[in-house]
Amino acid sequence: MTVATWAGIGSVLVLALLLGVVRPRRPTGVEQFYLAARAVPTWRNGAAISSESTSAATCLGVAGLIATHGPQMFWYPIGAAAGFVVLLALVVAPLRRSGTFTVPDFAQWRLGSPALRRVTTCLVLAVGVVYLVAQFHAAAVMVGLLMGLPAWGGWALVAGPAVVVALAGGMGSVTRVQSGQFWLKFVLFAGCAVVLWCTWWIAPRPRPYRFTGFVAPDDPALPGIVTILLACALGTMGLPQVVARVYTAPHGRAARRSIVAAQVLLGGFLLLPPLYGILGRAHVPPEAAGADGIVLLLPSVMAPGPVGDVLTGLLAAAAFAAFLATSCGVLAAVAGAVSSCVAAPGVGSFRAAVGGVTVLALLVTAATSPGSSVVLVLVGFSLSAATFCPLLVLGIWWRRLTDVGVAAGFVAGGGATVLLVGAGAVGLNAGLATACPVAVAVPLSFAVMVVISLVTPGRVPGDAEVSLVRMHQPDDRSSLRGGRSSLGHSPYVDDYRPLVELWGKRVSRPRSRP
């Protein structure tokens, strides 16, 4: 089994390096490095978005939770996929047309506050680190279970190649790795699922270990289920690494179609974890492994011998591809936000930020104990839903939003999330609030942003209407030539034609930021 696992992981590593490092052309500019030159084709972008979203939590964690906790866990992937529809309906095209290149950049461009940009960058860093820690811990579980390696071996196997790919070509390399590995994951997970289900049907069927528990949820649990669905949906639409992919599309229309492509691909992929969850519930006792390990143990339990070893190796390769693709994407998105906040955007600062973010994530990983990857990812979802989701929705659609209102919403929503997650971690039970902090934090964040914005009308940017017009004009009248950063030192091309057309007069050049 160890040989097959090493072979599977080695193959994924070689493929990632071929796709990400041995590239057809070197990145020549900052925009190419940060945003893959904003020229990623629709289906490739869709595959990359899907790859970003099918992390360790999806591939191993959800299946493991279905196996251990029953059918309630079916809701997680359904809710996460719903988030893309909301993202598509309210955010994608306007955000791309804003011409900014990260969520913090959008915050500063829309609301004119460098301080808000710094706060948003800190939140992006927090969500990104939580996501990376989930990947590293899941990798440690996998290498410990299948290869007998210590935990740091798993961290190094994921962090090392992810850093190499992100350093080599920035978002362009990451996009190629993610889109390539999405298809690899899809084929391997689907193929192994078919073989395992055929094994179960064709081979002399032992009495299943446990095939009960798929009962209807009790009525009192229904509000909780709906809340979990909403948490997954709103969390998905605010995730920085998902939003970053919107910026890599050539224009708003392509960005929309990329999300539809991702929706189609995810619809196929997300049917697989429940298939594994049902198999795991039937064949693997929950005490045999943690939630993240059940999928990896299935082949050896259901088909002991060489066939089981080969299937285990293939599943390990698919899981490793999931860790690597998600880690690359998170690293590129977070490094882009951090580097453009603390220094002038550039290849050097991007690479330095990749290194810094990786070291921080490894330190947090070492300081925390491995739990379920789904729990960690849900914390990231909750934080993202309570902060970025209101910022994006109100920033895109409501002219009267102010920087003070957003900052207050961040404090209220983010603070409530941290407090409730902390209370849940130490065993305090406040019902739905601690079980699903999003139920409290998201409405609170929206309400605080609206109320504080209304009481600070003097902080409404003078060009708010112009910003909104720019975001909502169709592509043929809006900028098609690329992005524009709010930073005075941005190297990006400015395009003021749409505003000139719209207002019928020339608009002054932007002034440099202090």
């Binding site: 598509l88 609301l111 798929f214 929309r256 940017p461 209407e465 207002w503 608009v507």
Partner: protein, 97 residues
């Protein structure tokens, strides 16, 4: 420099981020605002449909006792998201023609 302080009648304008604000043509501004409202209505309608589907899903599985029902509900939900996403894109692109 005089040490005398004077009361400021109006606070200074908020820090704007990039553009000096031009005087808009009222007709074009009205057209832009109308387009934005139509886009918002379309987006909110799709969001409401997503919320309604999310709320209805647990009720749909109220009688589910086996894994196959859950798999079917899961597949149906993903299909619904795809249909809603395609419909949203078509409506949005039609609005912007």
């Amino acid at each position: 420099m005089s040490g005398r302080r004077v009361a400021v009648e109006r606070r200074p304008p908020a820090l704007t981020c990039c553009f000096a604000v031009p005087d808009p043509d009222p007709v074009r501004q009205a057209a832009a605002t109308a387009l934005r409202r139509r886009q918002l209505r379309t987006g909110l309608a799709t969001t409401a449909l997503v919320a309604a589907t999310l709320a209805a899903l647990p009720a749909l599985t109220a009688g589910a006792t086996g894994p196959w029902t859950w798999l079917l509900v899961s597949a149906g939900a993903h299909l619904a998201w795809i249909v809603l996403a395609v419909a949203q894109v078509r409506r949005a692109e039609r609005l912007e023609r």
